[in-house]
């Protein structure tokens, strides 16, 4: 039976879904430090698709690749608990300030370094940058086809994959060969929870930087690592440095503002017949309705 080498691209993001008042700084920027850092929700949908392939073809391997700060290793462990086999943390100051193009360039260089891959699975969109651009940009850099807005992998054979994707008012089934990049829509199934045995097995898995923090002794620290979570910096990948980080990003943020709405002078009405009839009369007379 066929075995697939699967790469899941995942991002650690601040939880922007419940941004409270204390999360906004006076200058209108977001104070990331007060928001919990989470596994980008849609990337969990992506991971679930990968695990489903592995359920069906048990020899397959799932590697999660993330680019981010050292603490982003948290989501690699989370992925291991749920069913991934390995994780790669791409971290280096050289990547700081990347826009989507520089992000996709760095990710594609890391992917090229990985021996072989059949399927790359991404989320549709990250909840902080909200652009949905990184997936297709990675596919283009690698010169492989893409299927975006995927909802279900319909079939997998030795050399073909069929994927159902969501359109604005319908669905489409596409067939492609490998390697292929898929971005998974949020209407796809949720990710299964952590697996207790996997949690026990992987909870002490650390990256090189993390283990060095725990133990000063380089030798024991790196032995504890087991290569399940690898850490790559700019020197570990083959790349053109001019295309990385802030310098390699064509887009620049010129200004960031908090959103303020102009409050209106509003008329307060009760829910009695009198008030409502009066309002309706006004709307009809002004030809706003009717």
């Amino acid at each position: 039976m066929k075995e697939y080498q699967i790469i899941v691209l995942a991002k650690q993001v601040p939880d922007t879904r419940n941004v409270g008042k204390n999360a906004m700084k006076a200058d209108g920027t977001v104070n990331r430090s007060v928001l919990p850092a989470i596994f980008n929700p849609e990337d969990l949908h992506a991971l679930e698709q990968a695990i489903r392939i592995k359920d069906q073809f048990p020899g397959s391997t799932i590697t999660i690749l993330t680019m981010g700060p050292v603490r982003a290793a948290e989501i690699l462990r989370e992925g291991l608990y749920r069913g991934a086999d390995a994780g790669i943390l791409l971290t280096d100051r050289a990547f700081a300030g990347s826009d989507t193009l520089a992000t996709s360039y760095a990710l594609s260089c890391a992917i090229r370094k990985m021996e072989k891959y059949d399927i790359i699975i991404c989320g549709r969109q990250a909840i902080d940058g909200d652009t949905a651009q990184v997936g297709p940009q990675v596919a283009e850099k690698l010169g492989i086809p893409q299927i975006t807005y995927a909802e279900e992998i319909i079939s997998l054979t030795n050399d073909k994959i069929q994927v159902k994707r969501r359109l604005e008012r319908g669905v489409e089934v596409l067939e492609a060969s490998f390697p292929i990049l898929i971005t998974v829509n949020n209407s796809a199934p949720h990710c299964r929870p952590r697996h207790a045995k996997r949690l026990m097995k992987y909870k002490h898995t650390t990256t090189m930087s993390e283990s060095q923090e725990i133990s000063e002794d380089y030798l024991t620290a790196s032995m504890g690592n087991n290569q399940i979570i690898m850490e790559w910096g700019v020197n570990d990948i083959e790349c053109d440095r001019a295309q990385l980080g802030l310098g390699g990003s064509p887009t620049k943020v010129k200004k960031v503002e908090n959103i303020v709405f102009q409050a209106k002078e509003s008329l307060k009405l009760e829910d009695n017949d009198e008030d409502i009839n009066e309002l309706m009369k006004e709307l009809i007379t002004a030809h706003i309705i009717g």
Binding site: E140, Q162, R169, N277
Partner: protein, 339 residues
């Protein structure tokens, strides 16, 4: 060279509304920059389509017509855009932030190594000064977009790379005829020069698209329901009110997530943007992401049991009460007082 180009998207053979909206915006940007407005249309059986596009002020319409180019597929369309832009070198490229535009835009930007700004809500021309280098970039495209889940608004620029690419959601820009008599020229592209055979590697097996049933965006009255409506049955009251006063039913995302209505009715940052004459918000609290899609409504009525609901601050009329009490009264009055 150095023009403004709009990728015109086809939705089941019809030019998508968002493309007309972008042409209207593109025309005004081209006027400010003193350059031409170009449109690009890719598909099959496209004879006569120029008649629909020229009135929006299109000076040059590039057409790639081939039966393999419809419906949309990623690689062939990418290939045409990349090759054409390498020849024509537009300064600005606009496309819809739709399923197609969000599949195509990043692919093209990645190939051209140019920046792409997603989901812009405003596009303006302006100068940018880098004080440190004493350098002034003239006439850049200021791309204004919400980020961080809609909690902030960022202005993004691409100082050095061209084209400056941006996507915009449907309904965000206004569509308006520029001049019904405007005439441009059509340039038919030799498709074989722009797309290689190898681009057709992904096969379409099956496709199922429904007719669009609701037209919320063009409705002058919208009765929108939120989580506070409470049930599918109560949403029935909103449909009844909309039918009686002549409007459409819209919804907040929470109402859709709760299963009260279909997602094609979602209004807001990740739904549609509307600007009706009258917006009746029923049981909607008024989170930023919802307001982003309805703030420009002329008159806003809020029906909410909570007098402190944030939406009340931007409403012209606030009715404090329950949806299920207030709406039947509105229906009753209207029925009794109009013919």
């Amino acid at each position: 060279m150095n023009n403004v180009t709009v990728y015109c998207e086809l939705d089941e053979g019809k030019i998508a509304d968002v493309s007309f909206e972008l042409l209207t915006k593109g025309r005004s940007l081209a006027n400010q920059l003193n350059c031409k407005l170009e449109a690009l249309l890719i598909g099959h059986n496209l004879k006569g389509y120029e008649k629909m596009l020229f009135p929006y002020g299109v000076d040059t319409l590039f057409i790639a017509d081939d039966n393999r180019l419809a419906p949309y597929s990623t690689l062939p369309h990418t290939s045409i855009l990349v090759n054409l832009f390498n020849e024509e070198k537009p300064q600005i490229v606009l496309m819809g932030a739709t399923t197609i535009g969000r599949d195509l835009g990043p692919r093209v930007s990645s190939a051209l190594k140019s920046g792409l700004t997603a989901d812009c809500t405003e596009l303006e021309i302006g100068d940018h000064e880098v004080t440190r280098d004493k350098k002034v970039y003239k006439d850049l495209l200021f791309q204004i977009r919400p980020a961080f889940g809609g909690n902030i608004i960022a202005t993004i620029i691409n100082p050095d790379c061209r084209p400056q690419m941006a996507t915009v959601r449907e309904g965000v820009m206004k569509k308006a005829i520029f001049n019904p008599q405007h005439k441009g020229k059509v340039v038919d592209l030799d498709v074989s020069k722009y797309v290689d055979e190898t681009a057709f590697v992904v096969k379409l097996i099956e496709r199922h698209v429904e007719e669009s049933k609701v037209d919320i965006k063009n409705s002058s009255v919208i009765v929108a329901g939120g989580f506070g409506v409470g049930s599918v049955e109560n949403f029935g009251l909103l449909y009844e009110l909309a039918a009686v006063i002549g409007g459409e039913v819209g919804a907040s995302r929470a109402a859709i997530d709760a299963g009260y209505v279909g997602h094609e009715r979602q209004i807001g940052q990740t739904g549609i943007t509307v600007r009706p004459k009258l917006y009746i918000a029923c049981g909607i609290s008024g989170q930023i992401q919802h307001l982003a899609g309805m703030l420009e409504s002329s008159i806003i009525i809020s029906i909410n049991s909570d007098p402190n609901a944030p939406i009340n601050k931007i409403a012209n009329y606030v009715i404090q009460g329950k949806v299920e009490t207030v709406i039947p009264k509105m229906i009753k009055y209207y029925k009794e007082n109009t013919k």
